[in-house]
């Protein structure tokens, strides 16, 4: 196994009196696709929010334990914006910012201080190509991002997530609002991207994790039940009976 890129060490997160993550420890290796599966409200989204510290925006939240990226403690980082730029986030529902397609993708670079026209042009094209959207929008970059179809908007958010050149890409149930053909396109993109980026995919679709991931973690009720290579998790004999039952659709 390659070196761990992201490490969760004994992380507990609670919102008021509800515990969202319960003493989680997890290692996410570099330049692989790491799948996270589990039933609703098992803590998957909270886990992603810890990585880029958008958990800070949740009211009444309490976090203990340690999350490190390349050994650096996320919760001790001085410049949070810099940290967030190292991580691309894609949400379940596509949110096109009320800006043009071009400005959507150029947003993050501009906020980081890139204003050179040629540089931005090149970056926008690269990211839209990586997100398999370039051919569909190259003639209407001035169109409002919110006017694109749902599937296109979701690929737009992926292009956006790549626009700040992240070393980690997190996708949270990205295929909910996307048709199957687009989903397959995006999955191909992810497989391509993992050569240079660490990818974390949270998904409700067990088969998607099976197809995509190199390693899979199974979460249930705020705890990590099992982590292992995809083949092991989906084999006849995973370490936990619960994993077997969930993967075979017996609950969740």
């Amino acid at each position: 196994m390659e070196a761990a890129h992201i490490v969760f060490h004994n992380v507990t997160v609670s919102y008021g009196s509800t515990i969202a993550l319960d003493a989680i420890s997890l290692e996410i290796p570099k330049h692989q696709i790491f799948g996270i599966i589990g039933p609703a409200s098992s803590g998957k989204t909270t886990l992603l929010k810890c990585i880029n510290r958008t958990i800070d925006f949740v009211p009444n939240v309490r976090v203990t334990g340690q999350v490190t990226i390349d050994g650096e403690d996320v919760f001790r980082v001085k410049n949070v914006c810099d940290l967030r730029r190292r991580i691309g986030m894609v949400f379940p529902l596509p949110v096109g910012l009320p800006l043009s397609v071009y400005d959507n993708v150029a947003y993050a670079p501009r906020m980081a201080g890139v204003h050179d026209r040629d540089e931005l042009d090149a970056l926008v094209e690269t990211c839209l190509r990586q997100a398999a959207l370039w051919d569909e929008v190259k003639d209407r970059l001035r169109l409002l991002g919110t006017r694109l179809s749902g599937g296109q908007q979701q690929r737009l958010t992926i292009a956006r997530a790549l626009s700040h050149r992240p070393e980690i890409l997190c996708l949270n149930r990205f295929s909910i609002a996307v048709d199957p053909v687009t989903t397959m396109k995006i999955e191909d993109v992810l497989v391509e991207l993992k050569r240079s980026i660490t990818i974390v995919v949270v998904t409700n679709l067990v088969q998607q994790a099976h197809r995509l991931a190199d390693r899979v973690a199974f979460l249930n009720r705020s705890r990590v039940i099992e982590v292992g290579p995809t083949e092991a998790i989906f084999s006849e004999h995973p370490a936990s009976q619960m994993t077997f039952d969930y993967v075979r659709g017996h609950f969740g």
């Binding site: 730029r85 991580i87 986030m89 949110v95 947003y107 956006r160």
Partner: protein, 303 residues
């Protein structure tokens, strides 16, 4: 056969439902009509009564002969002055405070206290604001009865509403936009500046503009703080546009209406009604501007 007939002919229940529907429709229509009626009645009545004096010269001439003749230039300019100045004070403070409360403030006892204060301030009667203005601006701050004191008092009065409308306009921008920006490494302020404010500006402006008509119409807050019975101002030339200094007392439309209607003898009725028409026209114009603005900005809405 009989079943089909039953399906398509109205039974007793169906007929009753239709009857109730018609009655409800008529009642709702009548109440709506009753709403419009007084408005038209007022406007028509005022215009008819004011007809003899309504003319361009009524607007641009100063009151003459102990305010029993002439126009309303001096109070018109005075109202314009205090309204503009009060909004110049209240709008920036109110909008920035609204931004803070909606975008930055965390839910704690301090913000709850501020919210409580804002809600209650909005409900304070204007005469109370007036007394506050006398105590703080006229006396303590030493402005005297002046444009400055009256503007500050009006600013205090309009502030809570501007804060509230700003917050509502900001809250109407989907939270997901903010999350998307934060996730791309934009700071809170960058997010506000680039995404939140541009999409909330229409609602914010509407809230501010609506306060113009409120500030222009109020009498009580300026009554004790600077509006006076009569000021002799230049009749023409550039000087007639700048009749009042910040420290000077001034004439205002609402107070002028009050005085010529009740305090001065021998004023032709039409003069008072004319002043009322101008005041109403002012308010209606401002409201129309805000409606047009709102509609235009809504049609440009991007999500």
């Amino acid at each position: 056969m009989s079943l089909e007939a039953g399906l398509f002919t109205a039974g007793p229940i169906e007929r009753r439902k239709r009857r109730v529907e018609r009655v409800a429709h008529v009642i709702l229509l009548l109440t709506t009509a009753a709403l419009i009626l007084p408005l038209f009645a007022i406007v028509i009545y005022l215009v008819v009564k004011a007809w003899p004096v309504l003319s361009w010269s009524f607007l641009v001439e100063n009151p003459q002969h102990y305010m029993t003749a002439g126009g309303i230039w001096a109070p018109l300019v005075g109202t314009f002055y205090v309204v503009v100045l009060s909004l110049a004070i209240a709008a920036p403070i109110g909008v920035l405070a609204g931004v803070y409360l909606n975008e930055y403030a965390r839910e704690n006892w301090l913000t709850r206290l501020v919210n409580l204060a804002v809600v209650n301030l909005a409900g304070v009667p204007s005469i109370v604001h007036a007394l506050f203005g006398v105590g703080v601006f006229v006396m303590m701050a030493g402005f005297g009865r002046s444009v400055a004191a009256a503007s500050c008092t009006l600013a205090i009065m309009t502030l809570p509403v501007i804060i509230t409308s700003t917050r509502e306009a900001l809250a109407a921008v989907p939270f997901a936009f903010r999350e998307a920006c934060w996730n791309m490494g934009a700071s809170r302020w960058q997010t506000i500046r680039t995404i939140v404010l541009p999409n909330a500006i229409g609602g914010i402006l509407t809230g501010v503009i609506l306060q113009v008509s409120r500030a222009a119409g109020e009498t009580a807050p300026i009554l004790f703080t600077g509006a006076v019975f009569y000021v002799a101002v230049p009749d023409s030339g550039l000087a007639s546009f700048f009749p009042y200094g910040l420290r000077d007392p001034f004439m205002a439309l609402s107070y002028h209406l009050f005085t010529i209607a009740t305090q001065v003898t021998g004023v032709s009725e039409a003069l008072a009604y004319g002043t009322a028409v101008v005041l109403i026209a002012l308010v209606v114009t401002v409201n129309l501007v805000s409606i047009v603005l709102r509609v235009r900005l809504r049609s440009r809405r991007k999500w």
